[in-house]
């Protein structure tokens, strides 16, 4: 049906509301069991769709398809424990459900009416299994504003979005509000861009609206490129209509009739959901000509990235949408003045748009009350790396790193020591333990030498070498440099050259000085944000972990035991049983020995491939920096590897 009025919206809402209410915990006697299967990328990758199909088959086989519905939903955020399956009523939260578990699940829960204990979340500290979300610590400290629909609605059903008050804000804006009024509300809310730099969103809208040129465009930047960040993807996968609605509102406010969503081609599920959402919105008359019976037209089209991180930079993104090389250009003119095809263009990122509808629904006053003095509202972070609960979280601005990492994230696995958290991706920096109690917002992160970025958080432990991490990021930034300006094209290459030298044991003390100087010059001189921020990983690690650099350069050792060239493998003579397996595994004949004699590794020949370590049945081969092994003896373990024995063996 074509939706023309708020009444029409209400009718749709009424139809879908009972389903939603049940999922939110109402026992409304619906006579229906709803099984929510997480269909985000992470769960998808661990076969959640296979689970879903088998569930459907099993239910059909048992004749339960009438009173049971299997529903796709967006990311719950608890990716570490995926695939997630949630059963309503009751809100029973099953973790790590494998296709092989389906039959038992149906038998026990749906037929037997009992909770299948072994698939419930297991709280390691209490040793108990907990049936519902409310009991899981991971969710307790979060406040889901942007992610409110993820895990609740079926992202492929527009009706369910409407049932969650979706498109009411759009209707209100188009039918009852002036443009200036809406922009003013966004301004007052204090919303800032969630893509990285934190430019005030309302101001951006105002600037674009003020341009006296037609046509204008609205662009959603969904080119989430930070490695280890997947907030935007989860929003697009779990709640695509929230972005569509906000873009339409933005179009109305700035006077644009066409929008583009620039999305990574590496996000096939997000693309599919967006395509479905746009189709459904068009069919419902919520995109297209004459929205809500007015003369306001707005339509959307998808554009696809093709693997270039720099396209997250707004001017590069514009070039890419126009089918060109994604190279940034100098600003001014800003996209608000000259954007797509030289016309005024508003660019916001996914999460920013997702905040807009909330603000309009709940009121700017409410939104303004959330967060810190400079940064309002909430922020979605993706937690990854050396952390127990990898996943997607949303917390109010101003939450401390400690809460995020140790409370929500469940701390570091294996009882290892926290070393740093990297925020802001390749543009950000590594924040050490002393800032764990820092309430985070745009300003505090910047002061700590990092940045908000899009919200990726990678936790590192004692097994991570900070010099190597800096090198890793520089490798990334250099690889993704568009090649246009000198400091980024050549400068980051030289930074990388120096860092590579250091990690290979060829560094000199002057290199450290040169690293710093060159970093500052690149930051000063680069044309776009990518280049300007590319040295941040170097500067922040130099600032907080200088001793590690010095160890690499002066002592030629890698304290974390990561940099291969600085490692030495030795055979623990006490453990060695002289089986000779290690010598056979060695591709370069670096290991020699004789029966009943401990084997030895020739450090000159050794290529540090660690093949021998994997083969040794007695874990007799140890890794460490030559003299340290002798000095530290049993302590050598501190410097070993990145995790379990297997990883240690290969690093």
């Amino acid at each position: 049906m074509i939706i023309k009025s708020i009444e029409d919206l209400k009718r749709v809402k009424e139809k879908y509301e009972p389903l939603i209410k049940q999922r939110l915990g109402h026992r409304n006697g619906l006579g229906l069991t709803q099984i929510m299967v997480c269909s985000g990328t992470a769960c998808h990758s661990s076969e959640s769709q296979e689970v879903r199909l088998q569930l459907e088959q099993e239910l059909a086989r048992r004749g339960l398809e009438e009173q049971t519905r299997v529903i796709k939903t967006g990311c719950f955020g608890f990716c570490q424990y995926g695939p997630i399956v949630m059963v309503h009523p009751g809100g029973i939260f099953y973790c790590q459900v494998r296709p092989g578990d389906v039959r038992e699940l149906v038998e026990k829960h749906l037929i037997g009416g009992q909770v299948l204990e072994r698939l419930l979340y297991h709280n390691d500290s209490t040793g108990k299994r907990t049936p519902t979300i409310e009991d899981i610590h991971f969710f307790q400290a979060q406040r889901r504003i942007v992610l409110r629909n993820c895990g609740v609605i079926n992202p492929e059903e527009i009706g369910e979005y409407i049932a969650r008050d979706g498109y009411f804000a759009l209707a209100d804006v188009i039918l009852h509000r002036k443009r200036e009024e809406v922009i003013e509300m966004i301004k007052k809310s204090g919303l800032r861009g969630r893509g990285g730099a934190g430019f005030p969103t309302g101001r951006k809208w105002e600037l674009t609206a003020a341009q006296d040129i037609q046509p204008k465009y609205v662009v959603c930047n969904a080119d989430e490129g930070d490695p280890g960040a997947f907030m935007d993807r989860s929003i697009l996968e779990g709640d695509p209509h929230s972005v569509l609605e906000a873009m339409t509102i933005a179009g109305y406010c700035i006077g644009a009739n066409q929008g583009f969503i620039y999305v990574r081609a590496e996000y096939p599920i997000a693309v599919e959901r967006l395509e479905i959402a746009i189709e459904q919105a068009r069919a419902a008359g919520l995109l297209g000509k004459g929205l809500f019976g007015t003369d306001f037209d707005f339509d959307l089209s998808l554009r696809f990235g093709a693997g270039a991180f720099v396209c997250g930079e707004e001017t590069a993104l514009l070039h890419s949408i126009m089918g060109q090389r994604g190279e940034p250009r100098p600003r001014p003119p800003y996209p608000a003045q000259e954007g797509l095809w030289g016309k005024p263009t508003l660019i916001n990122n996914v999460e920013t748009f997702a905040n807009v509808t909330v603000i309009l629904r709940e009121g700017w006053e409410w939104y303004q009350g959330q967060g810190t003095s400079t940064s309002k509202g909430s922020k979605v972070f993706s937690l990854a790396g050396k952390i127990n609960n990898t996943g997607l979280i949303e917390v109010p601005m101003g939450t401390t790193l400690r809460t995020i990492i140790f409370d929500i994230g469940g701390g570091i696995p294996g009882g290892r020591q926290f070393k740093a958290v990297q925020t802001g991706g390749p543009s950000g920096g590594c924040i050490p333990a002393k800032y764990l109690d820092l309430p985070i917002d745009y300003e505090s992160l910047k002061e700590a030498g990092s940045m908000m970025g899009s919200g990726g958080m990678i936790v590192m432990d004692e097994g991570d070498c900070m010099v190597d991490i800096a090198r890793f990021y520089l490798q990334f930034s250099q690889d993704e440099s568009c090649g246009r300006c000198t400091p980024c094209r050549v400068g980051t290459k030289r930074l990388l050259d120096i860092l590579t030298r250091i990690t290979e044991g060829q560094g000199e003390m002057e290199d450290l000085e040169m690293l710093e100087e060159l970093s500052y010059d690149i930051r000063d001189a680069s044309l776009c944000g990518l280049g300007q921020t590319a040295p941040n990983p170097v500067l922040s690690t130099l600032r907080y972990f200088k001793s590690e650099y010095v160890a690499h350069v002066r002592d030629k050792r890698c304290p974390a035991g990561v940099c291969k060239a600085l490692l030495h493998y030795t055979v623990d003579e006490d453990k060695c049983i002289a089986c000779g397996l290690c010598a056979k595994a060695c591709a370069v004949q670096a290991i020699t020995g004789a029966p009943k004699q401990p084997y030895r590794i020739d450090p000159e020949k050794c290529t540090r491939c660690a093949a021998c370590v994997a083969k040794c049945p007695r874990q007799a081969i140890q890794k460490g920096t030559g003299k340290d092994v002798a000095v530290l003896g049993g302590e050598a373990g501190i410097y070993a590897g990145a995790g379990g024995a297997e990883n240690r063996a290969t690093l």
Binding site: S45, S46, P227, G323, Y473
Partner: protein, 194 residues
């Protein structure tokens, strides 16, 4: 090449040599090829009306041809009436475009940060060692291509190895052999490791 001769005796100057045209391939292959170009024409017709859809057209072309040979790039340039240098500039800029044929299986290691700190490099090294090729290369038998890929956003499963579309989460170097064997047997890589 123009043969300059100081004596002034050089007579007819040869124009620059053009690459020789290779021998005609068998008809079957030719048929397949013209079908691909017919598909290509449909794609171009679909998108040519919209401005700035070059990247989408190239993506579709890569789906059709498996990669983007020079002739296909030139063909698209001709049809869209844009300079071939520009098309080539775009193709070489974006990492998802391939200008060399890929193997039957593309094994990609996610090199996102989360995967990196969880040992993606070791995974990559093991892969290179096992297949005896470097990143971006294809085995001589045309079965495997190794690639490093940008964060796929499934950081909970780090480190991640992908065989075509199939995801192997929490992969370890020890499993590489098994995965390769599965592919070699020609089985679809449907069983997923966890």
């Amino acid at each position: 090449m123009a043969e300059h001769n100081v004596t002034g005796q050089t007579i007819i100057v040869q124009e620059l040599p053009f690459k020789d045209v290779p021998e005609k391939k068998d008809l079957l292959q030719e048929d397949h090829r013209s079908k691909q170009f017919a598909d290509m024409d449909r794609v171009i017709r679909l998108y040519a009306g919209e401005r700035g859809q070059l990247i989408r057209i190239l993506q579709k072309a890569q789906e059709i041809f498996g990669y983007l040979p020079e002739e296909v790039q030139a063909y698209i340039a001709e049809k869209l009436e844009i300079p071939v240098s520009e098309v080539n500039g775009v193709v070489t800029f974006y990492s998802l475009f391939a200008t060399e044929p890929k193997g039957k299986y593309t094994l990609s290691v996610c090199m996102g940060t989360a995967c990196y700190v969880k040992g993606a490099q070791a995974l990559m090294d093991a892969l290179k060692e096992e297949l005896k090729i470097d990143e971006g290369e294809t085995t001589p038998d045309g079965v495997f291509t190794i690639k490093s890929t940008r964060c796929v956003g499934a950081c909970g499963l780090a480190p991640i190895l992908m065989a075509n579309e199939d995801v192997y989460g929490k992969a370890s170097p020890g499993e590489i052999k098994k995965i390769i064997q599965t592919c070699r047997k020609g089985e679809s890589v449907d069983h997923k490791k966890h």
